[in-house]
Amino acid sequence: MIRPDGRRRLWLETGGRVGALALAGLLGAMIALPLAGIVLRVSPAAMLRQLADPGVRQTLWLSAGTSVTATLISLLLGLPMAGLLATRSFPGKRVIEVLMDLPMVIPPTVAGFALLMAFGRVGLLGGTLSALGISLPFTTAAVVVAQVFMSVPFLVGAARAGFASVDPRYLDAAATLRAGEVYTFLRVRLPLALPSLIAGAAMCWARALGEFGATITFAGNMAGTTRTVPLDVYLLLQENLDAAATLSLVLVVMAAVLLAGMRQAGLGLFAPPRAHGSAAAPGR
């Protein structure tokens, strides 16, 4: 029988525990302290004053409007793509998959630059667009385009996983009940994947709300038209810390509420969403 070396074990066990606690505490503080910094920066009274300011309000409304629009467009364009990726195999699927993931990993300023190169005056479609009398850059529409570009992958990814995780037995049952592919998708796959779709839409919206780099590069920074909350926070740093803190706090609170709500509904950000009814429980 091998006797454990008591001292070495003790060192490892206690040392490991203390070390893990210390490092975890450090990380917790690293995230919590800056947030506390925002909260403690403004008194509630100052914050209310700031929220009454027409400029601040304008920024908030612009952000709300553009991010919601971007989410709706992402749903409209993203769900069919997610459905195809989840249910079909076709040549070039790998390429499409990489393309769909790309916006999540390229630097936002590069994304903004790329958008300019496509839809800007000198871009690929610039000539066509201006012939039609459309000029996209430096408009609110450009903000939405930038937000969709940056946030739609979150929706496509989550929705695709949700569609793919629907128990095939339900799809088989639908097929024997005269349901064609499209009918089955709309009446079985879509509702069963709903938790994933909600999670995906929530992430997509949060990402759109926080979009900075692509927006400032492609849409510019014009009060009332393209200056969203993140842009305004950056600008206000230099002139009005109270206003910057107020806007930041609004974003932080909304994000926290969103995450807490998703957790409450069982929709973890990284945990795969709960599969809806994995077969009717036998017996009961």
Partner: protein, 357 residues
């Protein structure tokens, strides 16, 4: 009339079988898990394509690989009740039942009326608004049947319809299902792993063993004359090969079997016969029965298995191979104090031995 010839390979497993079924007689496919039963149903429903084969109902061909004919599942008049029912969890009982009607494009009013009829017929009206997870196993099964029958299918496929039920409800539902199936005018194919259910539901029974049909026949022919040891074991019968040693006087026949000499009565011509003894015809004793006219096989107990559902009867497996099985009451076993490894004597009358070529 359903006719099917199916070949399908899934990895190492190869299914190759031919089936026939008509509306008058429920066909039961019985076999152990992994024998390919569910695969057969999926092939018939059109959820799976055979590598080679043909499926036809009456003169309508649904699949013929040699002529490249393929009718996809939604276009086949098939009612399919999968294992565990696969009721749509996001839809109520009524919506589940109406699913096929709506998918087939029936107008709303007609769907409503037909759904109400079905709810009534399956005694589900009070449960119409409940989701599947709020229904008991028996209720779920009724919804699944109503959903499958809503479209008046020409072929009904039932995959282990009782396996999702707990023991208490199973008995009641079994009787209910039997009555329902008897009243249907469509061709019905039912799959089960339980020989008891096969015998109950099967007007014709096909025994599936490793993707092949081991035997097809009606209830009695299977019970009386199992053709392979697999079929016999599945049905819980003792089957041994026997060679005729002497005949007479009268109808008496003495046969040599791997477990020793067996005396039987009757039997057809031929010298190599199957010898079948139903386990419930066998009595056990600890002492060698003296001076009895009965057949006696002796051996040591390999296993004592309670019989489902309640275990009030026990199957006593007596070695050495080929094992001989006696079915006795738990009470009798307790009285004898039977334990594994004990030497026992199994006796049965010559008249309870079936022999056939």
């Amino acid at each position: 009339m359903l006719t099917a010839a199916l070949q399908r390979r899934v990895g190492e497993f190869a299914l190759e079988c031919e089936l026939e079924a008509n509306a008058a007689a429920t066909l039961v496919l019985v076999g152990e898990s992994g024998s390919g039963k569910s695969t057969v149903l999926r092939l018939l429903a059109g959820l799976l394509r055979p590598d080679a084969g043909r499926v036809a109902l009456g003169n309508r061909v649904w699949c013929d690989t040699s002529r490249a004919i393929w009718v996809p599942a939604p276009e086949r008049p098939v009612g399919y009740v999968p294992q565990d029912y696969a009721l749509f969890p996001h839809l109520s009982a009524a919506e589940n039942i109406a699913f096929g009607l709506r998918a087939s494009g029936m107008d709303r009013g007609a769907v409503k009326r037909r759904t109400a009829d079905l709810l009534d017929r399956f005694e589900l009206t009070d449960l119409a608004g409940r989701r599947p997870h709020d229904l008991s196993g028996g209720q779920q099964q009724r919804v699944a049947l109503a959903r499958a029958l809503a479209l008046e299918p020409a072929l009904l496929l039932l995959d282990e319809p009782l396996s999702a039920l707990d023991v208490e409800t199973r008995h009641a539902v079994r009787t209910e299902l039997k009555r329902l199936l008897a009243g249907l005018s469509c061709v019905t194919v039912l799959v089960t792993h339980a020989p008891m259910e096969a015998l109950l539901f099967g007007d014709r029974i096909a025994v599936l063993d490793h993707g092949r049909i081991a035997q097809v026949g009606d209830r009695l022919s299977l019970l009386r004359e199992p053709r392979t040891r697999y079929v016999a074991t599945l049905l819980g019968l003792n089957l041994m090969p026997g060679r005729v040693l002497t005949r007479g006087p009268g109808e008496e026949v003495v046969l040599a079997t791997p477990r020793g000499q067996v005396m039987a009565v009757g039997g057809g011509p031929g010298d190599d016969l199957f010898v079948v003894v139903s386990p419930d015809q066998v009595t056990l004793s600890l002492e060698q029965p003296a001076g009895s006219a009965r057949n006696v096989l002796s051996g040591e107990i390999d296993e004592i298995l309670p019989e489902p559902p309640y275990g009030e009867r026990l199957r006593v497996v007596i070695g050495p191979a080929p094992a001989f099985v006696a079915e006795i009451t738990a009470r009798a076993a307790a009285h004898l104090g039977l334990t594994v490894g004990q030497r026992v004597h199994a006796s049965f009358k010559a008249t309870s031995v079936a022999i056939y070529a």
